[in-house]
Structures are given as C-alpha cells and as structure tokens.
C-alpha cells in the first residue's frame, strides 16, 4: 500500500477545504486536499446562480466562478489535490492521524499527518428525516439533487412542481424550474416564517408569483408510480387543522427542509458532536476534542453564505498551522447559548486574544432585538439588532476588552437575545 505524509490533510475540496488548505500552505505547511468528486469546488459547482462573493471579492459571482477563483489559487500552490478519492477509514495514533483513502486510479493509499481539517460540508435532509407520510412514488427529490440534474446533467425531473420547505436551495430551485418552463405551484413551509434568506424570498418567489404557504404541514404525498400530488394542512396556534387540508396536484416534489453536517467520519474518529448544530464541538481555535483535528465550514455548522464559510475556514487553517508550531490557546472561556439563542459556535473563546469570532443563530423572529453578552453574569456588551430571524446567521467579534476581566475557575460567556 502506497503511503503519503503531509503536515495537514483537509477532508473535502469545497470552498471551506480550499480556503483552509490555502491558509496552511501560505504558512509553510505541506497540505493535501481529499475530494470524493472528480473536481474541486463542492456544491458551488452546481450553483450557477449569482450572489456569491459579495463579501469575499466585493463583486457578485456565480457558484462556479467563486469556486474557480479558489481552484486557481490552489493550482498555483503546492497543495496536493486528490480528487475522485474517498476516505474509508480515519484513525488516530497518538499525535498522528492515519487516513485510508481509495480511488480507482491509485487503489488504497495510507496518508499520515499531524493535522486533519474536517471540511466535508453537509447533506440535505430528506423525506424520511422529516417523516412525510404517504406513498413512495418516483418524482420526490431533494432540491440539491434536482439542481444537479438540471444545471449539470441537463435533465428536467418534472413539469408541475411543489417545493416542501423554504430553505435557500428550494427557493433558488423554484426560480430555476420556473425559468425552464416548469410550473411551481407552491412552496410549503411548516414554520410561520421562511427558512431561507429574505433576498431569495423576494427574487425567487415574489418575482415569479409563486405562493408561499407558511405554517402548513405536508400531510401526504400521493400517487402510485409517479407523484400525483401532495396534501397540505394548515397549522393554527400550534394545532393541525385537518378539516382545512387541501390537495395540490403535481408530478414532482422537491424537498428543501434543512441541511445536516456530514460528520459520520468524524464520529468514527472519536470527534464529539454538538446535537444543536450536528457539527463538532470546537474550542476557540476551531479544534475538536481530538487534538489536531479541526473543523470549518458547513461540517461545523450550516452557514448562510459561502463568504462566511471561507472566512471561517481560513481561520481554521491558520489555527491549525499555529497548532503545528506548538502554539496553544491562552485562557479559554466556555461559551453558552443563553435565552433565545439556538447555538453559538465555537463553544470557547480565548480571553487573551483579539478577534474571537462567534457565529450564532436565534430561536426567535424579532424586531428591535438586543444581543447581550454576559461574562459570569456581568453584561460586557450589548448590540442592537434591527431584525433577527433563525435563517440569518449572526456574527460577533470579541476581544480582550470584553473578555479580560475574568474571575472564578470556570468563567462562562453567555450570549442571549432579548
């Protein structure tokens, strides 16, 4: 069996993986990216719509264009990109991580490294995950699969579409399917507010007169061989109003009901997972509980924008390089998700450092909200937010000014929204 050795191996060649790898090599570390698809770029490759890169490049790019900019940079460095390659085992032997990877071209290779950066991204939740009852005909696809079929493979999965869930990919696909001559009859969302970004609601639904049914549950998918329709039922005051159920005939159902970080490999290597994010617990340096294993991008928590993903991934790459150089975090404080906050990532901050970036999501929709940061029950910062909603990620940067005055043996930084 062929054996390879690097300072760091990045699992996944999407935006996060490429950004983390670039940071590692820029700091003089040898690095490989392992990517199971034929090319780098991850899911960006099939996102042919624009809206990417406004923060990163200060211009509006399509997914493939955004990916290409990173691919070009990767090609100019010494990063070894192993595409069409799947990791089959990950073992931890003391300081060293051992990966077994398979490809048709090279068979199984054993790759040793001190650092592994998890950047595998996420997968779409499917019909079973949200327990939609009914028959099991053809014509039910996740929005991402439909996007792949239309944008890359050049096939139209159906003509009369109902989209379940108002996640961003579903909204983007509502517009895409309309453009190619399909009729999108409805977007059905269980929650009283949309799951996708507001700009997508406007550009993908309003502009195409596609009805959005909020607070509606899909209670049946019917049709024997192929989908013939869905039954949807309004939810009023938390109760399912069965007598108000109605049917929408269609031949295709697309699901956009959330994303789940893909951590099966991480779990097998002993990485502990936060059940609120389905991503690893990480410290102030984005390192998991397994020393030398870092995580970034959608495998850590699902982000809104790729621009935030690459920003986080670069920091993961930088922290990994520092860890290789023997640098350890200073005084770490535990971060707690307080009132109305779903999660905060990472789950630790370093009180001795400036620029601790925190990402969080709210549990509530609220105008004129206040984001409150408390250190050992003492308010150290408040931020006014004109509007918060669960679909929009909130970012926060904390430094010594807020964190230095620490008392007690286990100081807690609590973040809440009021």
């Amino acid at each position: 069996m062929k054996e390879l050795k690097f300072d760091a191996v990045v699992l996944g060649g999407g935006a996060a993986g490429m950004a983390a790898a670039l940071e590692l090599v820029s700091r003089g570390r040898s690095c490989a990216i392992i990517e199971r698809e034929e090319q780098l770029g991850g899911i960006l490759v099939q996102c042919i719509h624009n809206g990417f890169g406004l923060i990163e490049f200060n211009e509006e790019l399509s997914g493939p264009e955004f990916a290409e900019r990173f691919e070009e940079k990767v090609a100019k460095t010494g990063i070894v990109a192993l595409c069409s390659t799947t990791v089959v085992e990950m073992e931890v032997e003391g300081e060293e991580k051992v990966l077994y990877c398979v490809s048709s071209a090279r068979g199984v290779e054993r790759i040793r490294s001190k650092v592994v950066v998890l950047a595998m991204g996420c997968r779409e939740r499917n019909r079973g995950n949200i327990r939609i009852p009914g028959s099991r005909p053809s014509g039910v696809y996740t929005a991402g699969l439909a996007q792949r079929l239309v944008n890359i493979e050049g096939y139209v999965p159906g003509k009369d579409i109902v989209i379940i869930g108002s996640g961003d990919i579903g909204l983007i696909m509502a517009r895409r399917m309309s453009w190619i001559g399909c009729k999108v009859h409805a977007v059905v969302e269980i929650l009283p507010y949309p799951s996708g970004l507001t700009r997508n609601i406007v550009q993908c639904l309003h502009d195409f007169d596609i009805p959005l049914y909020l607070s509606h549950l899909t209670t049946d998918i019917y049709g024997r061989d192929r989908v013939e329709g869905v039954e949807i039922t309004p939810i009023e005051n938390g109760a399912l109003m069965s007598e108000k159920s109605f049917k929408i005939p269609c031949d295709t159902v697309l699901l956009s009901v959330g994303l789940v970080p893909e951590n099966e490999l991480s779990k097998k290597a002993g990485v502990e997972i936060n059940s609120m994010t389905n991503g690893p617990w990480v410290d102030s340096t984005l390192m998991t509980n397994v020393p030398g294993v870092f995580a970034c991008g959608n495998v850590l928590h699902v982000h809104d924008l790729v621009d935030y993903v690459v920003e986080e991934a670069r920091r993961a790459g930088a922290f990994a390089a520092e860890w290789l150089g023997g640098k350890k975090p200073g005084k770490e404080l535990r971060v707690k998700a307080g009132s109305n906050v779903r999660y905060v990532a990472p789950s630790k901050v370093d009180a001795t450092r400036e620029g601790n970036k925190l990402y969080l999501r709210t549990l509530v929709v609220k105008n004129e909200a206040i984001l409150e940061v408390k250190l050992d029950n003492r308010v150290v910062r408040t931020i006014k937010k004109g509007h918060v909603q669960p679909s929009e990620m909130i970012m926060l940067s904390l430094g010594k000014a807020e964190l230095e005055a620490v008392a007690g043996p286990d100081p807690v930084l609590e973040i809440s929204i009021h």
């Binding site: 069996m1 199971r36 069409s84 799947t86 089959v88 085992e89 077994y100 398979v102 490809s103 048709s104 071209a105 090279r106 068979g107 199984v108 054993r110 997968r123 779409e124 499917n126 019909r127 079973g128 995950n129 327990r131 009852p133 009914g134 028959s135 099991r136 005909p137 053809s138 696809y141 996740t142 991402g144 699969l145 792949r148 079929l149 239309v150 890359i152 493979e153 050049g154 096939y155 139209v156 999965p157 159906g158 003509k159 190619i180 209670t219 049946d220 019917y222 024997r224 061989d225 192929r226 031949d251 295709t252 099966e264 779990k267």
Partner: protein
C-alpha cells in the same frame, strides 16, 4: 430436454420468497421450470418490505402447518447462506415483558417453544434480559430468549435464490402478468397481459397478495386474500438505540407486535403496524401509524430518537385465515396453491420449497436429480465489508471498485454495474441489490451517478429509466 422454448414442466407464478424457493428447489432436478413475475424485478411485492426476521419457532402452535414449516425453514438458513451468500445472521431474538401479566404470556411462549423443539430457548429474569439487551428500558420485567432466531435481508435472499435457480436452468420471465389460462389434456396454457404465452404441465400459484385472483383465472378454489399493512421506520446505522438482538414485545392476538430489528446490514428497523387495507397496492404510510411505531418502540428501548429516522415504508401481508394454504387444488388438476404466506413466511420459505416439491412428486411429477446442479452463487465483493488492504487488492484487479458512488452505504461503481448485469435495471432494483440510495441521504448524492451508469451500461435513454417499472420514470425531458 425442452420440446419448445415456451413449454415447461412447472410454471411458478410469483417470484417472491415462496416462488423463488420453489424454483430454486426444482432447479436441482431434470425439469423445465418457468418463474413468472408480474413486476419488473423479483421480490418487488411482499418480499421486499417486511421485517426480515428468521423467527425463533415459539410464536405458533405445531398443529399449524405454518409453525412446522417455520421450525424446519429456520434450520435451513445456515446452509443456504453458505451456498448463496446473502446477508443473514443468527443474532437471536428476545421478547421483552413490561408487566407481571406479560410474564405469564412469556411463559406460554416458552412452553410452546419447548413443545416445538426450539433449541436453547430460555426464560429470562430482569437481570438476565438486561444482560442480553442492555438497551431495554428500566420497566423491563423479564422475558424470553431464543438464540436460534435471526435476521436476513429479504430481497437479497430472493435475488440469490432466483439467480441460482436461473443459473441452473430456470426461465425467469418478468413483467409477465397472468391474465388467462386454460387446460388442454395434461397441459396448462398461461397467457400474460402483454400477449406472451407459455405452457406447463403443473402450475404453482405463489402469487402472494394476488393468489386469489390467480386461483380464479385457473378455475381453482375461490378464496379471498386480505391485505394487512405493516408500516416501518428505518433508523440510521449510527443510532445509539441499536439492540444486539431482535427485540419483540409480547404478542397480541392479531400480530407479533412492533419490533426493534438490528438489520443484517447494520441499520435498525422499527415496526410493523398491522392494519387491514382494501387496496392491495396501497403501501402508503400514515401519520398516525408512524407515531404509534415510535411510541411503541420506545416503551422497549427508550433511547430511540426521531432524528435517527432515515425513511419510512410499508409492506402488505397476504392474509388468508389462520394458516398457510399449501396444497394441490381439489377443483382443477395440475395446480398447486401456495397462498396466505404471511408471517412467518420468510422463515418458512425454504421449507415451503421442499414441501411443494413433495406435493408435486406425489401428484406425479417425476424428479430426477441433475448431475451438474450447482448450488453455489458467485460472491460479489462488497466494498463496505472490506479492510483497506483487501480493498487495495481488489481495486488493483478491477479499478471501478475504487469509485465510490454511494457514500452513505459505501457502494462502488463495480457493484452497481454487477447489479445491472444481473438484471436489476431500475433504481429500486439497484438499491435492493447494492444498498446504494438506502442510507442516510436516501439517494440525494448518488442518484444522478446511478442514472448515468444505468444509461451507459444498458443503452437506455434517460426517459426509459424508472424507479420500479411502470410509469415510475425519473426524468421528464432534456434541457
């Protein structure tokens, strides 16, 4: 030798687990056998959607044929696995009692098991059952343990049987939906809806849910098969609630109850419900029943999480009274009924093959053993079962084993191609043969890859590819 390509000694209607076992048994003799299946692939009816249990032999009284065949069938699985290489494991079965009353029912089951000659069956105290199955909840009072029970992947079992039967000369005809039949002299002429005709001296009716319709077509006994639906949830292989053995509740008069099954391929199944339905093709799941499953399963193993659910599905049991109905027709000659094969039909099926062979022999079918009968099926390597070293060797011989198509169940391109070569050319056929699309993403990542491989390997165009035949096409048009 065959007189003409459409004349057979025996035609078996239905390529489910009963028909497949009968066909494979008869393939050992100098006979021309046809296996007729109305669906596009084998095992696409009741045999694909059930609990996949090899029962322990304590649920039924020996006075019933089903109990005798169950006990006999159970003992035949080890040899079949050695010959045919399908996923089967004798993991054992426990029945968990949650009240003192239920312990009395457990005692009845134990006595019945002992009476049925079940090997190693034992009554368990609370301590013993929790030792066997630590994930059982704190309310467990005790239970029953039958080490000889097991789990099997039912579709893979049928695929292997049919594959081997075909290898030994059986003619498999799919999409053969029996529409009419008449008997002239000693021979049946059987016509399918698409106009194909075959002739056979004996016909075996193993048509599952539709055995009543088939019986009528042949002018044989008038009976009615009722469909009883069972709904299931499939849980991720990484669930923390996976038991070591099949966990049964104490049975009711209608069914064996809702079980927790660690499947032979590593996932966990919970269910089934039991509801009578009119429509024999109604395999829809319902909100209410699915909620019942979760509740019921949690009374035994409380750690089952909703987030472990990958998918749900339903299957239909073909119900005809209390017992199996396996006999020659009393109304017409050359016709054998194999009807009402509900639970424990899968367990009993190898014995059903043997039993039907004996019936045919008594009815005058001459059985001469084939000198060159080959009981073995050639093994398909499965990437997910290989060590990195074994995989490396394999990829060097055949590179497409290194092309992982399905990440969740780790299925290579080579395995998909093998499925297609063996005639499984629908998305569901490929799923049941390889497990691709069966994991946690349910085909979200790999479906487009499988579509491309299917088109490449078969020459089918995009609109000819279906989920499971009929009008279940996947793609509507090109862009």
């Amino acid at each position: 030798m065959k007189s003409s390509s459409d004349s057979f000694d025996v035609a078996i209607i239905g390529a489910g687990v009963s028909g497949a076992n009968i066909a494979r048994k008869l393939s050992a003799y100098e006979l021309d056998v046809a296996l007729l299946e109305k669906e596009v692939d084998v095992a696409f009816g009741t045999s694909k959607a059930n609990s996949g249990i090899v029962h322990g032999g304590f649920h039924h009284n020996r006075k019933h044929l089903m109990a005798r065949l169950e006990i006999q069938g159970n003992l035949m699985f080890d040899r079949l696995k050695a010959e045919l290489d399908f996923p089967f494991e004798r993991c054992g079965i426990v029945v968990a009692a949650l009240h003192e009353d239920e312990m009395r029912a457990i005692e009845q089951l134990y006595m019945q098991g002992v009476d049925n000659g079940v090997i190693g069956i034992e009554m368990c105290s609370r301590e013993r059952i929790l030792e066997l199955e630590p994930k059982l909840g704190p309310d467990t009072m005790g239970g029953l343990y039958a080490p000889g029970g097991g789990i099997v992947e039912p579709y893979r079992f049928v695929f292997s049987l049919v594959e081997n039967a075909v290898k030994n000369g059986v003619s498999l005809m799919t999409k053969f939906c029996v529409e009419s039949a008449f008997r002239e002299g000693e021979v049946w002429t059987v016509r399918s809806a698409d106009g194909r005709t075959i002739r056979a001296r004996w016909v075996v009716n193993a048509a599952g849910l539709f055995a009543d319709d088939v019986s009528k077509v042949f002018g044989a006994e008038d009976f009615e098969i009722k469909a009883r639906k069972g709904e299931y949830y499939l849980l991720d292989r990484l669930t923390k609630a996976k038991p070591n053995r099949v966990v049964f509740p104490v049975p009711t008069s209608v069914s064996k109850g809702m079980l927790i099954i660690p499947t032979a391929e590593g996932t966990v199944l919970i269910g089934p419900t039991a509801t009578g339905v009119i429509d024999k093709e109604d395999v829809a799941t319902t909100r209410l029943e699915l909620d019942t499953i979760l509740k019921s399963a949690r009374t035994m193993i409380p750690s089952i999480l909703e987030t472990d659910v990958i998918t749900s599905f339903a299957g239909l049991r073909p119900v005809l009274g209390e017992d199996f109905y396996i006999d020659t027709s009393k109304k017409v000659a050359g016709f054998v009924q194999v009807a009402g094969i509900q639970s424990p039909g899968l367990t009993a099926s190898p014995a059903i093959g043997e039993y039907v062979k004996e019936i045919l022999k008594k009815d005058g079918l001459r059985l001469v053993e084939k000198a060159d009968w080959d009981p073995f099926d050639h093994k398909v390597p499965r990437v997910k079962d290989l060590s990195p070293f074994e995989l490396d060797e394999l990829v060097k011989k055949e590179p497409s084993y290194g092309e992982i198509v399905c990440r969740c169940e780790r299925v290579s391109e080579a395995e998909i191609v093998e499925a297609i070569k063996r005639g499984h050319d629908t998305l569901d056929g490929i799923k049941y043969f390889t497990r691709a699309q069966m994991g946690r993403c349910q085909g979200g990542f790999c479906t487009y890859k499988i579509l491309k491989i299917l088109m490449r390997e078969t020459g089918m165009s995009y609109d000819e590819i279906t989920k499971r035949g009929g009008t279940s096409a996947i793609l509507r048009s090109e862009l």
